[in-house]
């Protein structure tokens, strides 16, 4: 393990961890905003109770997303200073804009929303959570623009005097074709995660006997909202993911070939198959056993069932010829770790589909208007397992998606311009990186335990009671009354 390996592990660990909270933040802020808007429209206190319940879970989750996000921004400079020097001219701008446009919006209006119950007019208060959501979406856009540049550099030229990539067209960076499919894909995946998060707590309360039966219809509302979100967003994620595959084949053919562990070229007209599962090795030898769908890979990669797909070996040869000449782009091996790309790609798709299947089952089970048997509909023990599992499906699908896209890019840091090993900080010692890696891993592990405990605690407690005529308008309150929320 040298500083480079450690820095890579650190980036992987901190990024995957940070991304457990990001999609929940994006997705849940939308659903809480919808719940609160529903309450404003109908004055049905069930929606208010759900707003406050999921609002609390949202803040518990947001706190960790926030504090782990700071590490992400500092990390480029700390561990990847040569990368920062090389692409800072292009890569830094979206990060700065993200902070100025999105982070201020998110944190200021979340503060107003959390502390503003009863202190700002109701409509304005509801607008605050919508603005938080808009902030999360803007944040996603700019950070993904930066990542898309790494997958497919555009709008730049290499300046021979400074030896770095410099911006020529900022609009091209913001409308990178990879970005235009990645952004909706990430956003829909986040909405799936938010929906599944709501589904988990709602299903669990529907199943649970201790939950007051008068509350069951309220959790039923939440379950249906969550399931609809998972379903609509899941469809969106599938469509955008498919488009992403076509673009990826065009700009990162190695990644697509590695997704299937396809070593040999498949010529036009033959139709490359897609394997659902393979038992055996993935190193190009004959597999022992596999379930394959004929011609599907050709379709995923090219949009035609007969399309030609280039294999790993051929791309490797091509890249050696193209890139071997320069220190920044030379590598022994232009292949990512094939088992990782193969399995992460499948797990991403499989877990996403599983979440959609749960959503369909829930909607079917909870169809129709409220009937007297509401309480018993979800009482089968199986639902407790489904409730527990459903949030992890999109959550892990998100993780595997990122693992696939980032590890599938290897050995490149910026596709075709800079290999990962040349981007690491030259002056940083192994001891320093090892220290920070250990500190973050231990700290993050401890925080995960605390977070899960809190979520369980609040989840179990359920939505708190509110008076039937609940109002949060400041005009209904006295200046000397205790505030609705304080630390």
């Amino acid at each position: 393990m040298d500083a480079l390996d450690l820095a890579r592990w650190q980036f992987g660990i901190t990024t995957v961890y940070h991304y457990f909270f990001v999609p929940i933040t994006i997705g849940l802020s939308l659903l809480v905003a919808i719940m609160q808007t529903q309450w404003m429209r109908t004055r049905n206190t069930q929606w208010l109770r759900l707003t406050k319940f999921f609002g609390k879970l949202f803040t518990i989750n947001f706190a960790l997303g926030l504090v782990t996000g700071i590490v992400q921004e500092f990390q480029f400079g700390m561990n990847w200073s040569d990368y920062s020097r090389f692409v800072g001219d292009i890569f830094g701008a979206p990060l700065a804009i993200e902070a100025l446009l999105a982070f201020f919006l998110e944190s200021t209006f979340l503060g107003l929303w959390i502390f503003g119950w009863g202190r700002i007019p109701e409509k304005l208060h509801a607008a605050c959570i919508w603005l938080v959501h808009i902030g999360t979406v803007l944040s996603a856009y700019f950070i993904l623009a930066a990542n898309s540049f790494m997958q497919n550099p555009v709008g730049y030229e290499i300046n021979p005097d400074t030896g770095r990539a410099e911006l020529t067209d900022f609009l091209a960076v913001l409308t990178n074709k990879v970005q235009l499919v990645t952004f909706p894909h990430v956003l829909t995946a986040a909405y799936m995660t938010g929906g599944a998060f709501v589904l988990t707590f709602a299903l669990w309360h529907l199943w649970r006997r201790q939950t007051p039966s008068v509350d069951k219809p309220m959790y039923r509302k939440a379950a249906r909202l969550g399931a609809v979100a998972v379903l609509i967003a899941g469809a969106g994620a599938a469509v955008t993911g498919d488009l992403q595959g076509k673009i990826m084949t065009e700009v990162q053919p190695m990644k697509m070939a590695a997704a299937e562990a396809l070593y040999e070229d498949v010529p036009e007209g033959e139709g490359a198959p897609f394997s659902i599962i393979t038992v055996g090795t993935l190193d190009g030898d004959e597999e022992v056993w596999a379930i394959t769908v004929p011609k599907l890979l050709s379709y995923l990669a090219t949009g035609s069932f007969e399309g030609a797909v280039e294999g790993i070996d051929h791309i490797q040869d091509r890249y050696e010829l193209t890139y071997a000449g320069s220190e920044l782009t030379a590598a022994d091996d232009y292949r990512p770790v094939i088992p990782v790309t193969y399995w992460s790609f499948r797990l991403m798709i499989g877990l996403g589909l599983a979440a959609m299947a749960v959503a369909v089952a829930v909607l079917w089970r909870l169809r129709g208007k409220g009937e007297p048997d509401d309480e018993t509909r979800m009482s089968h023990p199986l639902w407790a397992w489904v409730a527990t599992a459903v949030v992890f499906m999109p959550l892990l699908a998100n993780s595997f998606g990122w693992i696939f896209t980032e590890m599938g890019r290897q050995p490149w840091l910026v596709m075709g311009l800079m290999t990962t090993r040349t981007g690491v900080s030259p002056g940083t010692t192994t001891g320093e990186v090892l220290t920070s890696l250990s500190v973050f891993t231990l700290l993050y592990g401890a925080l995960a335990v605390v977070e899960v405990k809190l979520l369980l605690r609040y989840g179990r407690a359920g939505a708190e009671q509110v008076p039937e005529d609940a109002s949060y308008d400041p005009s209904d309150r006295d200046d000397d009354d205790a505030y609705v929320f304080t630390y």
Binding site: G88, A96, F109, P426, G427
Partner: protein, 363 residues
């Protein structure tokens, strides 16, 4: 004005915003065990209504509650802006000051979690643990930013390849530690005055009295530290600004002593802002001077991004910064009222409580 100069100024503004705003959050966080003690010298607060140290702590934390997260974004924006406008500065600074930044990150993580989670479990032990995280997490950045900026302004070993070659212990020189102590006491004073301005009852008076004592120490340290720095690298302008900073600190303390907490807080606010400005004035046109060879120093010119990037960033900054300032100001206006003991809900009502199951009803 050159684009590089404009961005040097903008980044100075971001750091000024960060220290002026987040400075009082750190101060309030560190003063939790002092101003929020269970046994206060003044005996029972608020004329015997039985408000305990816990109520005082909740008043203090609720005073910064809606703001601290937004204030922290100034740091994130400063970091992002340095990355975008001066990539070499970002790369040298962040990879060179590796361990201090790691400590700052850990501090910020502990503090954020402590603030957000302390009220989430109704147990005194839990709250005490979270308070400790807030105290430590406020102390570390308050101290280390002073250390970092003293080093930046006075120069550190940077080689011909723009790499920092000084190691960790080199950053803990006496001048830098003096800088750390100065920012620490300045933020403590700033935080105490913020508590005096934003709370009511005995806590307000205790905070004001403490601010005066802390302020004297801060003023002495600040004069020493700024004098030392500007003797090395100062210009007439930076000397002037540093002098005005010292005057506003002293003026603020005098006014606070007369019960004008608003003016007192304005005094520390301006003092911290101008002290930071004076550092950047002393620094210009360098962004990270090299102590090995002036020719190897990072300057606003040789560390900068291309004109194209700077131009685009300038437009974005000019359009969106005013918008951000407007809603930030609105947030401060919304929560402008002082927080008294009776504003704090008696039960920790947002901590989770298990509901009692009710008998099923047929609806």
């Amino acid at each position: 004005m050159e684009l590089t100069t404009i961005w040097f100024v903008l980044i100075a503004v971001l750091w000024i915003g960060y220290f002026c705003l987040e400075g009082f959050d750190y101060g309030v966080g560190m003063l939790l065990p002092v101003l929020g003690r269970d046994e206060t010298p003044s005996g029972d607060d608020d004329g015997g209504t039985g408000h305990t140290g816990e109520t005082r702590r909740r008043q203090m934390l609720s005073a910064i509650g809606p703001f601290w997260d937004g204030n922290e974004v100034w740091l994130l924006t400063a970091g992002g802006a340095i990355f975008a406008a001066f990539p070499h500065w970002y790369a040298t600074l962040f990879s060179g000051f590796y361990l201090p930044l790691l400590l700052i990150l850990v501090g910020l993580i502990l503090r954020g979690i402590g603030l957000e989670y302390r009220g989430k479990v109704d147990s005194a032990t839990w709250r005490a643990r979270m308070d400790t995280m807030v105290v430590v997490g406020s102390f570390v950045p308050a101290l280390l930013w002073g250390v970092a900026f003293t080093n930046i302004v006075s120069g550190v070993p940077i080689d011909a390849d723009m790499e920092y070659v000084g190691g960790f212990w080199n950053l803990l020189n006496p001048a830098a530690l003096l800088g750390g102590l100065t920012t620490l006491t300045l933020f403590l004073t700033h935080g105490a005055l913020f508590v005096a301005l934003k709370t009511d009852g005995q806590l307000r008076h205790d905070a004001r009295a403490l601010a005066l004592r802390l302020g004297l120490a801060a003023a002495a340290l600040a004069v020493l530290w700024l004098g030392l720095l500007h003797l090395r690298t100062g210009t007439p302008l930076s000397w002037t600004v540093a002098g005005v900073a010292a005057l506003s600190l002293v003026g603020g303390l005098v006014l606070a002593a007369r019960g004008r907490e608003g003016w007192g807080f304005t005094g520390t606010f301006v003092a911290i802002g101008l002290a930071t400005a004076s550092l950047f004035l002393a620094l210009f046109p360098d962004v990270m001077p090299s102590s090995l060879d002036p020719a190897w120093s990072l300057t606003a010119t040789n560390a900068s991004s291309s004109q194209k990037t700077l131009g685009i960033m300038t437009v974005v900054a000019l359009v969106f910064t005013p918008v951000m300032l407007l809603y930030t100001a609105w947030s401060y206006w919304t929560f402008r009222k002082r927080i008294s003991g009776h504003h704090i809900p008696t039960e920790v009502h947002h901590a989770a409580v298990e509901p009692q199951p009710t008998a099923p009803t047929g609806r």
